[in-house]
Symmetry: C2
Subunit: 487 residues, 2 copies
C-alpha cells in the first residue's frame, strides 16, 4: 500500500468533532489520504488507501450477490436522452443532475447522450431484447460501474459528480417474486452494513416523497453518524411494471399469454466509505472495522541507536510479519525514517485497528506491545511467541466491539415520542420514532421547522396508530416513522 | 451463471472461419452470448458469460500487479479539455476520438470536459500534487476503469466507443527505474497472455509510427489470430519526462535539487477477450482456456424417460457436482428442458473445456462419459469414483494443449525472409520477420502494397543487419522487424 511519505512538517491533527463535525470530516478524508479533490469541481480522486476500503467492500458484496444467484455484466455509460424520457417520473427526477455529451469524434451528435446517472433505461432496453419467455425469468444481473450526477453541493464520498457503485437490475414474472428480490437485497445490505462495516442500520421503506424516481416502492438502510445524523447507505427498489411498460419488457407466460415483467433495482456506492468514516471515527482520526481495514495490523519496529539492537529488531519484525501473513492478517510494517510517536499518531489517524510496537527492550523479554485503536486496555504487553496466532480472534473481538459501540450509540440517541417538543429536540443529534399523518405537506413542514426528514418506515416497526406528532391528524403507515436530519 | 434459455428454434451454427473469418467472429460473439450491440452506435453490452471471462482475467492481472508492488486507485472520468492540450503529441493523437461533455446540471459548462480516452493527463496533475521528494518515489498506481474513444469502425471487443481496461501509471526518479518498470509490466502481460490466455505472444518495441501519443518508447505484445493476423494485446510505455514536464511532476532529489520524474503507463483491456476468441476458436465455436472459462466443466444429466432412472441420475449429478466444487473446479449443471444433442452443441459453441455426460446406462456401470472440447480422444468413459479428483490435472493438461496448439500455429505461420515476394506472400495469413530501413515512408509503402504494418521489433531478436526487404536501403533497429496485417 503506497502512502504519502512527506511526514515532515505535516500536521496530523484534525478539528475536533464536537467543534465542527463537518470540518472534522473534510480534513480527515484528506489527511488520512482516503481521497483528494480533483481539478474538476465536485469530482473526487479515490487514493489508494480509500480505494482499498472500496475493494474490500466490493468483494464482500460481490460474494453475497453471487451466492444469491446474481451474475455481473457491463452496460454502456452513454445513454440516449430519449431513453430517460420514456419513464416520466424517472426523467423528471434525474434531469437536473445530467451531464450531456453533445460532440464526439469531431462532430455534433444527432441525439445528445447522457452519462448514466443510473442504468434502468439502458438495461431495460436490453432486457426487452433478451427476455421472451417465462423460462428466461428471473433475470438477475448486477453491474459494477461509475455513474455521473451533477451535484451542486459536492462532498467527498457523500456527494460527488461521479461515484462508483453497483447496481443490480432484475426482472421477474410477477410482483411477489420481484418483491421477494427487493427485500432479499435489502437484507444483504443490512447484513453487510452490520457484519462488515460494523454499522447497525434501520431498514425500512421510504415514504412516497423520498422514493426513487420511477419506483413503486423504495426501501433503504439508514445508519447513524456520530453527530446523530442519518446516512442513507443502500437502497432497494420495486419498480412494479413501470420500466417494463416504458421499455416493453414482456414475456410469454406458461399459457402463452404476453405479460409485462416486474423489475427491481438496488445499489450501494462509495458513499458507504463516508458512512464508515462518520459512524466510527473520533478526534484522533479514522476508526476502521477490521473487515474493511486495508491494514488490520501495523508493526512499528523501534530500533533505537544501537546497530546491534537494530538487527535483532529487524529479524524479529520479519518473523512476526510472516507469522501474521500466515494467520491471514493484512499486516504492514512501518519502516519510514520517522519517530515512533509520529508513526503512532499517523496510524491512529488512519484508523488501523491494532498496532504492534517492537523494541529491543521488549525483545529481550520475548514480548512486544500491542495497542488497540479504540477500547479499554489501550496498550498491553504480549508474548511474541503466540501474538500472531491470537490476532484473528483479537480482530474479531475488535470488530464486535465497534458494532457494539455503534449500536449503543444508536440506541442512546434514538427515542420514541408523541410530543412535538421532544421530537424537535430529538432530531438535533439523533433519530426520533414518531407517528405521522403521511401527508407530503406535513413532511415539508417538519423539515422546514427542524431540518429532519422521514428516513424510513422501519420494517420491524410495531403496529401502532394514533395522531400525527406534528399536525395531529390520524397517523398513516400503521407504525412509527423514523425521522432525522440526514446527509 | 445466467444464460439465454431460448433454445427452441435457435440456430447454433456459425459461418465457417475459412469462408468468412469476420462473419464467424461477429456471429460467434453474439450467439455465444459474450456481448451484444447496444442501441448507441459502436457501444457494446458485455453479457454475463463474456463479463465473467473479464472478471477472471482481472483477478489474474490484479494479483500480479499487487505482487509487483502496485496499488489501485480511482481517478475522474471527466478531464478538462485544456489538460489534453498540454502535451502536444498526446492531444494530436487523441483529438479525433474524443467525446465531449458540454452541458451538465442544466447549464453549459465554462470549459468542455472530455471523457477520458486514457488518464495520463488527470493522473499527471494529481501526481504533481502528491510527489515532492525522492522519498515519494517510485509511485506505483493502477486503475481499473472505463475509457471512451469514438471509433468509426467499431467491432465488438476489438474497437468499441467505450471499453474496460486497467491503466497503470507510475512515476520514478530516473530513466533506468522507469524503463525497468516498463519492461517488468510488459513481462507481466507476456506471462498472462501465455499462462492464462494460452496465447503465445511476441513481445517487442513499436517503431516510432506506432508509438503511443506522447511516449518516448512503446512496447507491445502481439498475438496471432487463427486467420494469421496480429492482435496487439497489451502495451507498456516509457514516457521519459514528457508528461512530467507538461504537468510539472517534480521532486527534490537527495541533494535537494529539483528534478522531473520519469513516468510510465501500461494497459490491457477487454480487447483481450477478442484475442481469446480469435486465437483459439474454431468452426464449432469458442474454445476457452480453462483459466478463463466461466465454466470449466459442464455436467449434462441424461435422464431418459424412466422416472426411477431420473432419480438415480439426479442423485449422481448432485454428488459429482459437489465433488467438482470440492476439487476447486468451476462446474455447471445443464438442467434445461432440451435434448442432449442440443446441449452438447451449445456448450461446444460456448467453448467449455470439459463436458461430463451422465446417463442411466453409464451409472449402472459406475461410469460417465467425458468429452473434451478439442484434442485427440474426443470422448472417453471415466469412472465416477475418481473423475472429479482428476479434473484439475485434466484442465491443466488441456490448458497446456491449447498453448501448444497456438504455439505450433504461430511457428508454422511465422517466417523470416529477405525476399519481397516471400514477404508479400507471408503476410497473407501470417507474420514475417524482415530487415527494414526504419523509414516511415517505407512502412507506409509496405502497408499500401500488402496491408501489413510493423508489429514490433522483438525483444528477443537476434542481432542482424543488412538491406531493407522493401527498398534495399541499409536496415535499422539492429534486428528483424515482425510485420503482419493487424486488427
Amino acid at each position: 500500500m503506497a502512502h504519502d511519505k512527506r511526514h515532515k512538517g505535516s500536521n496530523l491533527g484534525v478539528t475536533p468533532q464536537g467543534e465542527d463535525f463537518s470540518a472534522w470530516y473534510n480534513e480527515l478524508v484528506l489527511k488520512a489520504e482516503l481521497a483528494d479533490r480533483a481539478p474538476v469541481k465536485g469530482a473526487m480522486v479515490m487514493r489508494p488507501y480509500g480505494y482499498r476500503i472500496w475493494e474490500l467492500l466490493q468483494s464482500e458484496l460481490d460474494r453475497r450477490f453471487k451466492d444469491t444467484g446474481h451474475v455481473n455484466a457491463y452496460f454502456p455509460l452513454l445513454i440516449p436522452m430519449s431513453y430517460l424520457q420514456r419513464e416520466a417520473e424517472h426523467v423528471e427526477g434525474f434531469s437536473p443532475e445530467l451531464a450531456v455529451v453533445t460532440h464526439a469524434g469531431g462532430s455534433e451528435l444527432e441525439e445528445p447522450l447522457v452519462l448514466r446517472p443510473t442504468s434502468e433505461t439502458m438495461i431495460g432496453e436490453m432486457y426487452s431484447r433478451w427476455i421472451s419467455s417465462y423460462r428466461d425469468l428471473p433475470l438477475l444481473i448486477n453491474q459494477w460501474a461509475n455513474v455521473v450526477r451533477w451535484e451542486l453541493r459536492p462532498r467527498l464520498f457523500l456527494r460527488t459528480t461521479e461515484f462508483l457503485w453497483q447496481e443490480g437490475h432484475t426482472a421477474h414474472a410477477d410482483a411477489d417474486d420481484a418483491m421477494a428480490e427487493t427485500m432479499r437485497m435489502l437484507g444483504v445490505y443490512t447484513e453487510v452494513a452490520r457484519d462488515v462495516a460494523a454499522i447497525p442500520v434501520i431498514a425500512g421503506e421510504k415514504t412516497p416523497g423520498e422514493r426513487f424516481a420511477g419506483a413503486e416502492r423504495t426501501f433503504t438502510i439508514e445508519g447513524m453518524m456520530r453527530d446523530g445524523r442519518a446516512l442513507q447507505s443502500g437502497t432497494s427498489h420495486y419498480m412494479g411494471t413501470n420500466f417494463a411498460r416504458a421499455f416493453d419488457i414482456t414475456f410469454q407466460d406458461a399459457t402463452e399469454e404476453l405479460q409485462h415483467c416486474h423489475t427491481t433495482s438496488w445499489g450501494m456506492s462509495t458513499r458507504m466509505i463516508g458512512a464508515v468514516i462518520m459512524a466510527h471515527g473520533d478526534d484522533k482520526g479514522l476508526v476502521l472495522p477490521p473487515r474493511l481495514a486495508p491494514y488490520q495490523v501495523v508493526i512499528v519496529p523501534i530500533a533505537g541507536r544501537d546497530p546491534g539492537a537494530a538487527g535483532l529488531v529487524a529479524a524479529a519484525t520479519d518473523k512476526l510479519t510472516s507469522e501474521c501473513r500466515a494467520a491471514g492478517v493484512r499486516v504492514h510494517v512501518d519502516e519510514r525514517d520517522a519517530s515512533p510517536g509520529f508513526k503512532f499518531n499517523d496510524w491512529e489517524l488512519k484508523g488501523v485497528p491494532l498496532r504492534i510496537e517492537l523494541g529491543p527492550r521488549d525483545l529481550a523479554s520475548g514480548s512486544a506491545v500491542l495497542a488497540q485503536r479504540v477500547g479499554a486496555g489501550a496498550k498491553e504487553p504480549v508474548s511474541l511467541h503466540d501474538v500472531a496466532a491470537s490476532l484473528p480472534a483479537r480482530l474479531d473481538d475488535y470488530q464486535g466491539a465497534l458494532l457494539g459501540r455503534a449500536t449503543a450509540f444508536l440506541d442512546d440517541r434514538r427515542r420514541s415520542t408523541d410530543s412535538w417538543g421532544v421530537f424537535a429536540d430529538g432530531v438535533v443529534g439523533g433519530f426520533v420514532d414518531a407517528l405521522h399523518c403521511g401527508r407530503p405537506e406535513c413532511e415539508d413542514d417538519i423539515k422546514a421547522a427542524t431540518g429532519a426528514t422521514p428516513r424510513c418506515i422501519p420494517s420491524d416497526g410495531r403496529p401502532e396508530e394514533g395522531l400525527c406528532v406534528r399536525c395531529g391528524r390520524p397517523s398513516a403507515w400503521g407504525t412509527r416513522v423514523v425521522f432525522a436530519r440526514a446527509y
